[in-house]
């Protein structure tokens, strides 16, 4: 009995030892290969799935051998061996199938991930290609011509509208300069924009199809790459032929209206003058008084018409600015002198702060006097009796402009009215307009147009109850 007890003890110990060993090896086999147990067990992980009985047999043999070495008794040998190897193989089977499951799980995850990425990429591609198609459709269908040229000036793309406007096709022009093949007589003129004007240049084309001229406006923008190098230019062409015709019609209309409106006014004014001057006989005092009212209002109507015509001419670009080097001091003095009568009538003081040694400005004297008369006239209008008007003139910070400002002592302009003050027919707060103030409401619009035509700016600063200050700049000669 003692023999059996020893053999059993040894067997149990050995099996625990081996089981522990296998357990350790099994856990590493999940990652890679199950390395040999007992020297002979190799690549069990891979082999296990296919050939478990072989391994079992091999293990049984190996164990029998080992146990035979440990004990003389071979009576229980086979029984013990079988029991131990059963434990082994079950454990192994469990481990291997666990590993296989883990591996296949991971593999599945990878596949899923990959296909999901592919799906995302496909969706992104579809989005991008839809966006591209949309952009192309937009470019194709816009009414304005669009031409893109590279840095060498060769056409990269043009839309159908541009083809139609220029009378060429993208196929003909692709990779070639835009102006190539355009005959000189077709390109009638190329008007460069005036400084400070952002309208783009105007191109007059004699259309190849019909003999009527075409006027195109090209607004171009340089295309820069990320490094700031010019890589090309994109131009938007719009057909402004109709607009030009309308402009011409408008200006001839303006000239006609000018004549038609002034003619009756002049006749009325002259008739009244003849009576008032008693060229047509004596007048009673009352008759004289009423005729004076009629004449004053006629003058007002005449001024309104003149202002309107002036503005419409300015807007149509029909007014020529005759620039010359001007002393702003002389211009201010002239303007103040012209308004002396009115200034005296209201006992208003005029303070002039003109910086000495100011450079001359590059401007049209008649037009600048018109601007100043308007600003100073407004200041007189809104400054109460015995008030003061201040006129300042100095150099701008960059030294490139002369800045002139006219400050009054009037009611000032409410904040909400400030942006609208240069609009046509706008008179800030009707309470500003008293009986003697007869403004047409377009004087400031005219002043703005004139200053901007000179390349200057005009603006107003004011607070309710603290007067208003109108300023403008003119370029130094």
């Amino acid at each position: 009995m003692a023999e059996i007890a020893i053999v059993l003890t040894i067997t149990i110990l050995a099996s625990i030892l081996i089981a522990a060993l296998l357990l350790y090896l099994g856990s590493s086999s999940g990652r890679s290969h199950l390395k040999g147990a007992q020297g002979g067990l190799r690549d069990a992980g891979a082999a296990a799935g296919n050939n478990q009985s072989d391994i079992q047999k091999y293990l049984q043999d190996a164990l029998s051998e080992q146990l035979a070495n440990l004990t003389d008794s071979s009576r229980y040998l086979n029984k013990i061996t079988t029991a131990v190897s059963d434990v082994f193989s079950k454990e192994l089977e469990r481990k291997v199938s666990q590993s296989a499951q883990e591996i296949s799980g991971k593999y599945e995850a990878i596949i899923r991930e990959k296909s999901r990425n592919e799906e995302i990429a496909l969706k992104k591609y579809q989005t991008v290609s839809t966006a591209k198609k949309e952009t192309e459709a937009v470019i194709r269908s816009i009414a304005e011509g669009l031409v893109v040229v590279d840095a060498q000036g060769n056409v990269v793309m043009m839309n159908p509208a541009a083809e139609k406007l220029l009378g060429v096709t993208q196929k003909e022009k692709s990779g070639r300069p835009l102006t190539e093949g355009v005959k000189d007589e077709q390109l009638v003129s190329l008007i460069r924009p005036q400084p400070g004007e952002s309208k783009g240049r105007e191109i007059e084309l004699a259309s190849p199809q019909d003999e009527t001229k075409k006027v195109l406006r090209a607004s171009s923008a340089v295309i820069e790459n990320e490094d700031g190098y010019t890589v090309g230019m994109v131009s938007v062409l719009s057909d402004i032929t109709k607009q030009k015709e309308l402009d011409a019609l408008k200006s001839s209309f303006v000239a006609n209206v000018s004549h038609e409106l002034r003619t009756p006014l002049v006749a009325m004014d002259k008739s009244i003058s003849l009576i008032l001057n008693k060229d047509a006989g004596p007048l009673t005092e009352t008759q004289e008084q009423f005729l004076s009212v009629a004449q004053r209002n006629l003058k007002r109507l005449g001024n309104l018409i003149n202002d309107l015509l002036d503005l419409s001419k300015l807007e149509a670009g029909k007014i020529e600015i005759r620039r010359e080097p001007l002393s702003i001091e002389i211009i201010i003095t002239e303007s103040v002198e012209a308004l002396t009568g009115w200034v005296r009538a209201k006992s208003i003081g005029v303070v002039k702060n003109i910086k000495s040694g100011l450079p001359r400005v590059d401007a049209d004297p008649g037009r600048i006097i018109q601007v100043l008369n308007n600003l100073i006239g407004n200041a007189i209008k809104f400054t109460p009796h015995n008030g003061v008007i201040t006129i300042d003139a100095g150099l701008s910070r960059d030294g490139k402009r002369v800045e002139v400002s006219v400050k009054d002592m009037g009611e000032g302009i409410a904040k909400e009215d400030l942006p609208k003050i240069f609009d046509k027919f706008y008179q800030a707060g009707s309470e500003r307009v008293t009986a003697d103030i007869s403004g047409t409401g377009i004087g400031l619009s005219i002043a703005k147009e004139i200053v901007e035509l000179h390349g200057g700016d005009i603006w107003v600063e004011s607070e309710k109850g603290r007067g208003a200050k109108f300023s403008f700049t003119l370029p130094v000669y």
Partner: protein, 130 residues
């Protein structure tokens, strides 16, 4: 020379203005004659031989410059003062290039200013004749 002896021809298709100007000139003592068209003006220059002419620029059929050209065909020296409804009329430049133009009178201005032009034109003309 007595004012009443000075013949002033006023050429304007616009009835009201022409009548007013003629009335005013007459009230100032001049012998003013009206002409309502270029054609009528040419005839009157031939018949009446005026001392000076006020000539409107914009008239139908025969406008100011054309009428002036016709008058110059047979009368080289009668001084002519252009009358215009507006200062920036493009026809003013066209008309003033012609010889014998003594000035431009803007219709909106006071009649008394036309008198200054008229008198100085007559003086200049008299000096030139001597």
């Amino acid at each position: 020379m007595e004012k009443s002896g000075i013949k002033v021809l006023v050429v304007d298709d616009e009835d009201d203005y022409r009548q007013l100007m003629v009335f005013w000139l007459q009230s100032k003592g001049y012998n003013a004659l009206p002409a309502s068209s270029g054609e009528a003006a040419v005839e009157l220059v031939k018949e009446e031989n005026p001392d000076i002419i006020f000539m409107d620029l914009r008239m139908p059929v025969m406008d100011g410059p054309k009428t002036i050209a016709r008058i110059r065909e047979f009368n080289a020296d009668v001084p002519i003062i252009i009358i215009s409804a507006y200062l920036d009329d493009s026809k003013i430049r066209e008309a003033t290039i012609a010889p014998g133009i003594a000035g431009v009178f803007y219709k909106g201005k006071d009649f008394s200013q036309s008198l200054i032009l008229l008198e100085s034109a007559l003086r200049t003309h008299k000096r030139l004749k001597k």
